[in-house]
Symmetry: C2
Subunit: 695 residues, 2 copies
Amino acid sequence: MPRESSTAPPADVVPPISRGGRGIRLIRQYLGDRPPGLEETTLTARDRGPRTAAGRLWRQGKRVLIGRPIPSTQAAQERLTRVKALAVLSSDAISSVAYGPEAALLVLSAAGAGALVLNLPISAAIALLLVIVTFSYRQTIFAYPSGGGSYIVASENLGRIPGLVAASALLIDYVLTVAVSVASGVAALASAVPALGDQLVPIGLACIALLAIGNLRGVRESGALFAAPTYLFILSLLALVGVGLVRVLVFHDPAATGAPREPVARGETVGVLLVLKAFSSGCTAMTGIEAVSNGVPAFNPPESRNAATTMLWMSGILGTLFVGIVVLFYAYGLVPDPTGNPTLLSQLTEQVVGRSWFYYLVQGATLLVLVLAANTSYADFPRLSAILARDNFAPHLFGFRGDRLAFSVGIIVLSILAAVLLVLFRGSVDALIPLFAVGVFVAFTLSQAGMVVHWRRLRGARWRAKATINGLGAVAAATVALVAGGTKFISGEPLFQVAGFDVRAGSWIVIVLIPLIILNFLGIHRHYTRAADELAVETPLSPEAIKHVVIVPIGAVNRLAIQTLAYACSIATNVSAVYVSDVPEEMAQLHQTWRAQRVHHAFLDRVSLRLVRSPYRSLIPALMSYIDDVDQRQPSSTITVVLPELVPAHWWEQPLHTQTALRLKAALLFRPGTVVTSVPYHLERELPPGQEQLR
Amino acid sequence: MPRESSTAPPADVVPPISRGGRGIRLIRQYLGDRPPGLEETTLTARDRGPRTAAGRLWRQGKRVLIGRPIPSTQAAQERLTRVKALAVLSSDAISSVAYGPEAALLVLSAAGAGALVLNLPISAAIALLLVIVTFSYRQTIFAYPSGGGSYIVASENLGRIPGLVAASALLIDYVLTVAVSVASGVAALASAVPALGDQLVPIGLACIALLAIGNLRGVRESGALFAAPTYLFILSLLALVGVGLVRVLVFHDPAATGAPREPVARGETVGVLLVLKAFSSGCTAMTGIEAVSNGVPAFNPPESRNAATTMLWMSGILGTLFVGIVVLFYAYGLVPDPTGNPTLLSQLTEQVVGRSWFYYLVQGATLLVLVLAANTSYADFPRLSAILARDNFAPHLFGFRGDRLAFSVGIIVLSILAAVLLVLFRGSVDALIPLFAVGVFVAFTLSQAGMVVHWRRLRGARWRAKATINGLGAVAAATVALVAGGTKFISGEPLFQVAGFDVRAGSWIVIVLIPLIILNFLGIHRHYTRAADELAVETPLSPEAIKHVVIVPIGAVNRLAIQTLAYACSIATNVSAVYVSDVPEEMAQLHQTWRAQRVHHAFLDRVSLRLVRSPYRSLIPALMSYIDDVDQRQPSSTITVVLPELVPAHWWEQPLHTQTALRLKAALLFRPGTVVTSVPYHLERELPPGQEQLR
């Protein structure tokens, strides 16, 4: 029975066949019922390694960078305690306090000092939103214990297109998370070490390269690795907020007057638009909050309960830090530097504790936690791409696990996109923020709306209450998405010029990208579906029905050509040799050699020799037109072009040969229904005795 | 008889076979005696053009840049009158006066004003050398009426290695001629238009690109094209020298005092070494003088007589201009500018005629004639490379004529090398000069020495006198080569730094390159000889002796796989299908589908199914190790790997498929004796009815 093969194969049932023990091990023979003539065998292949010097070099380099391959059987996932899970899953959300509050203040500061106080009510609204979204997602955790990503929830409950909208918004979000987190982390570093201030982009690219290599190596979301930096960040920021609040409220720090410490440019007037812009910028502090509900299966049992508790803790910490930081920013009258250097958090830390060891601890922890936040996307983007590939919406390549079990293609694509963003936006967090909120809150909205449909469909206990909570979450998230999309449609510095016209960043990029990505998803899906339909076997095929016409292009009558013709004659009877030239003397010369060789090789009598004159010296078009002609005369036959292929012993000898076979193969690939056979002749290799025949 | 095919084929003996008249035209059937079963046909192929959009775009671009293809039959060469020949063949030599005299003076000026007078005796010596070399080459013209290039003369008379020394020296010389002539022409332009002074390299690269395109289009050495600029240059320079001498000698121009017009840096002392350096720099004025003896067959009959007369005229003009310019440089006390801008010739012209229209005429003519001089190398380098390719010393690609009958590879290689030189030496003539003389005079020496052996072997009338003249030429040329190689071994500005060590240009580059190039020539020759020996047919082959083992890797049991298996069963009986996976469930699933399909496709009973487990998910290494295993068990069989190949209808759909077939083909290319067959399945193409079978 075939199902037997799913059990672990007993090792070394049959001893290795191949000499030196480097071959295939035969581990199970004769699977299931065997009709006469059908031999079925399960073998386990061993990799014998690359055969060429270049191949070995490539593998060595890959091994050093990525590590040795890991077998598929080690794909088990680590289960997390609540303490570890908080570290692993919350770095993205909690690290957002490093850029969210500053982004809101930067918007307000454009309207002068008086506008800064508005950050307090705006932040209160954001905190309220955080509570709503937290309780919304808490319900998702219980409803989808196997992991409720926005794509899955939206697809299952709202249908294919909303699911794809969520997926594309998430993919954009993941790329932006990497770019924003890395840029923000580098800004924290540059605040502490001002000399690095003009090297933001190279340092950011180096971070992305490290993340890519680490993830290609298959850095597991190891609790131990994540715990230290995340808790260091949480504790040092809690301490900072605590000390700051004590100084302001208890000791009435004279520096904490609430008045701006620097003159503030007054470009815009305070209005609804400005407030909404500041609100949507501040909402970026909530990005990453969905991570816990995606990662439920990673928790120790009871998974949902542990995840829900962790979610509450995470939101509590995030809210505390966010509100505390906002209040302290206001109390100390801090104003964001338009260049983003030093960061506002750096200014605050310096204000509260001076340039002490603690200042450097906070900056270092900020850098580390932001790199971990970027790393979260390195887990999510490849995983979502792989799910999309499985559902035939993304190229199947995204679903392949590399040597180290990581989804290599997704990791590489994510790195390239994030690097492009970083270069394009010159490593500036402020420039990237306007793009950030839209994608995140579109995904939130669809996920929460999906949950409403979910409860309504199930109609379980208290379904109305649950649906109301998720509905509230959906409305809140939709509001943010609309505000962010609308108020920041065009925003920020010009990125580049096209025909004298400044192209400025803004949420329009995301709003344009989402439908384009969805069209791509649908196109890919259609292609795979059609291909699968077409390949579904229908008409019975029979080898006997194939009529062969075999064409062998030759460049001379030598061993290479005669070996190839012998092969051709061994597979079919209707064989012709084709010689192309522009020089009549060459054609006559070849014809003479041909007749001479017929004496030694009797089988050449069975081969038709065709001399094709190519007036423009071109070889490939002449052969192609010959093949077309044969095709038109014998339309029901299968044409096989058998190519003699001279393979030099060393790669550096390749330029000495004219690669005709290679070019002809490329040309024939696009000729429907033409079978191409390469008969290689390897130069200057010793042949074992008795293997002269074609070896 | 095969010889018949060398006559021009009568067009349209048989009407076109193919529909639409776009096929092959059958122009002669049944060549020679035909044994039963052997059909021999001469056909003339018509190019139907590329089939893909990318191919059509490439061809359109090539047509615009290079022009429409020219048939081989139009390869006839233009015959030249003496007047035209002088223009075509002397531009290289005569244009050398634009840089030779200046190069000598630049060396002398390093020793202060007093040293400048030494240029007069040095130039007298160069003029004497010119006379000797001219009479030497005049004898070559008569001895080699079919063209006596240094490579041919040295190979025939001195042997293979001296011939290859000459060839490598000439190839280097041709590259340097392009670089020096273009740099010098650009310097003439920059002297007239000082604003271009900092754009020397880009302008030079543009010139090289134009020369490359022009020659790929097949610019013939058309007399009409060459005559105007060359004669303009000759006449305007003769007029300049004449007017200058009259002003100095007859009117006693007060400016012509012989005293340097500018303070001269005094870095070196006058000594033998300095004089020899100046001499070898000045000798670059003689480069290109061998062109006439190479081009004898291009003359109107009597070829040798006409060529000899032209040679005398050319040398006379070159000598007159050279001596006249040197005398005027001295009379007006001109000192070369170390930057090479303005050129000395520009200074002289300004001195004699002011910044008049005549000044601009001279500068313009100088630019044009120098570009023509560079163009001479564009004829010579590809021609010599093609001769070397014919003799198996250079890759055969150099011998292929492109669409326009030009040796495309040689033209492209020459352009790249000259462009690299120009960039490396920052477009400076003075920096390039030290490399220039060595190669030229090594080739001269070998050519003249070869002539001595030639006369000695023939022992014809007055052979001793002839041998003496060539011997004198050889000794003189060898002296220059030694002087140039020795005194300028290291010379000039640092090119770049390697590990803190300045790498300076100098003749050492050429002296190191010549043996390296020769080693390359010999290595290539050995490779081709071995390949030809190996391919010489010896043991009789027979198709019946081939035992087939056919392996078909499959990814699923679908139409693609079943079609491929049907093909495999139609060419051999021993066929196995191989499926690789790391998931036991997938293997069981495939096995089930396989058994289901056996009901519809009876021939599958003849196929062995092999399930190979690949623990590291890698496909190619697993298949390779399976093939190795089969090979070891059946060492006397020929393994054919038949690959199902899914070809999408559009190129942009390629990334959606995993290119397994392509990667496997690349891996199998390096596996000796493995035949690889691709059975394509073209997706989403309408199939004509009745062609379901494999089409």
